[in-house]
């Protein structure tokens, strides 16, 4: 605005009114823009999804979800999330630990590398695996000789999902662990705890909310990923179609109710994630603010 005061850059949970310099009409305009934008671009599409899904009644809706190909897509999506999320938890904690607590050569490089999936288009993430594991790829011959099918099967879909969700847990934990430093761990060690005990009783409780946050985000993306999975899926009905892919197939078959029914389920999963996150924040807001560095 006209008078940009340094004051307004204070953290938001400090006395809020003191920082407000905008006039009332300006506030109203800003709020109106935010609400209209969210309403038109987020809320309205969401309502349409559910409206289209139920356009032919609840019977058609449940029938669409009970259809074998749809059930297999739901099953596959849950399976992929159930494998890739724990993998990312293990990786995320290890990477965050290494970066936050140790000094080593190549640390900056590792930090940059973790961000790679955020900056690379998901299509590329998928194609990388085609070039690596495809029949014409680097490891194609070897895999074929040993009868291992990665591409166009569940392992390929899991790999692609792990790739695109790589940063979620690590990104959440790194700043948190960096801020907390080594003090608590050093105290635990000096009191005679071993490494595992230190992790279980000191480090993990310190980062638990950040971790849970990361897991929720990671899970949402794992279930919703389209681009990378589409490249490696092979689109075999009832076998390698995840929910997002199945939505597209149904839509292309003019089956709007089926497509939106599956889409509404995906949206529902996202809403559950959102509610969980909000509940966590409401119930443990203070603790969260204290332990989440940002």
């Amino acid at each position: 605005m006209a008078d940009p005061e340094i004051k307004s850059y204070e953290p938001y949970h400090e006395s809020r009114s003191a920082a407000v310099t905008e006039s009332r009409p300006a506030q109203a305009v800003l709020m109106a823009i935010a609400f209209v934008f969210l309403g038109v671009f987020l809320l309205l599409p969401l309502i349409i999804v559910f409206h289209e899904a139920l356009a032919k009644g609840v019977g058609a809706y449940t029938q669409a979800l009970g259809e074998p190909d749809a059930r297999s897509a739901i099953h596959l999506t849950l399976l992929v999330a159930a494998i890739s999320v724990p993998l990312n938890v293990v990786f995320g904690i290890s990477a965050a630990w290494a970066i936050a607590k140790f000094e080593f050569k190549g640390k900056a490089f590792l930090t940059t590398l973790i961000d790679l999936p955020f900056s690379v288009s998901p299509v590329i993430s998928g194609l990388v695996y085609v070039l690596l594991f495809g029949a014409q790829g680097l490891l194609g011959e070897w895999l074929k000789a040993h009868g291992i099918q990665i591409l166009f099967a569940v392992p390929g879909i899991v790999l692609a999902t792990v790739f695109v969700t790589f940063p979620f847990v690590a990104r959440e934990l790194i700043p948190l662990m960096q801020e907390q430093g080594n003090g608590d761990e050093e105290a635990a060690l000096s009191l005679g705890a071993n490494g595992w005990q230190t992790f279980w009783y000191v480090t993990l409780p310190n980062v638990k909310w950040g971790l849970l946050y990361g897991v929720l985000l990671c899970n949402a993306r794992a279930m919703g990923e389209f681009g990378a999975v589409s490249v490696v899926s092979g689109h075999i009905r009832g076998l390698t179609n995840t929910m997002p892919l199945h939505v597209e197939i149904l839509y292309n078959e003019y089956n709007a109710v089926g497509a939106f029914a599956v889409a509404s389920l995906l949206a529902g999963l996202a809403l559950v994630t959102l509610v969980l996150k909000t509940l966590l924040e409401m119930r443990y807001g203070a603790e969260l603010a204290a332990t989440r560095g940002h």
């Binding site: 159930a82 029949a135 014409q136 790829g137 638990k208 197939i249 078959e253």
Partner: protein, 342 residues
Amino acid sequence: MTKPHFRKLLGALVATSVQFGTLGFAFADTTILNVSYDPTRELYKAYDEAFAAHWKAETGETVTIQQSHGGSGAQARAVIDGLDADVVTLALEGDINAIVSKSKKINPDWRKKFENNSAPYTSTIIFLVRKGNPKGIHDWSDLVKDGTQVITPNPKTSGGARWNYLAAWAYANAHDGGDEAKTREFVGKLYANAPVLDTGARGSTVTFAQKGIGDVLIGWENDAYLALDEFGADNFEIVYPPTSILAEPPVAIVDANVDAKGTRKVAEAYLGWLYSKEGQTIIAKNHYRPAKPELVAPADLPKTPDIKLISIDDPLFGGWKKAQPYHFGDGGIFDQIYKPAQ
């Protein structure tokens, strides 16, 4: 929240993941995978069901047919990259030849394997316009007029799109008396009128019919009829141009895959049965033109007007082996004439 509480949550997470990990997939006796192109979804859905019943009655074996659909070129690429297809039923010979030359998974003489050059059905390319034909589209020349939006998929990824392109080329060639420079200009103008190129024929139909973009859809005859069935004849009209192309979508066994999986017998029976009375009838009912119409009851035959159809083997094109690289290869004519809209 206390520490044990949180650990319980973590434990539950791990437990569910283990549970999901051990859930397997149940397989039927024999499973074969048919990798096909976009508009055949409804055809093979009906055919697969009928064939499974036929095979059960004939041999007592249960066979499950899995389907994968997409743009014909993209599907061929997936088979080359290792998609484990037993049979491919693609939009054109060129895509199967690509699998032959790039992966050697299909024997080079595959066209002799089944009747009619391994094409159990043919089709052609026609126009779908909005009800009442407001732009008055009757022939290919109407597509290059200023202000006419043409919906057609990308010939690089879609087999149907290549047929569309070649049909336009054949018209322009006849119209310009064989002057290739003029033919190029005509086809270039047509693509300049295309606001979007989808990757597959079905994507284009959805763009035109569901999203309401464009004045005319160039597409498969069967897909046009399907769109009429789905969206009602009060929204669209089919227009037959006086000339078009004879599209022969071929089928082939993926030899290397069926031999590795031991599914050759059922895969061959699966494709062979397409030429039976039952197979040809299902083909006709799905708005394809059966290769052996004499097997089909006259009532089930599609009622299609008699238009002039030019074959890909016409000297104008010289077959797919020549036409594919000349028109659609890297730096080919399509690359030279197509400039994406700014």
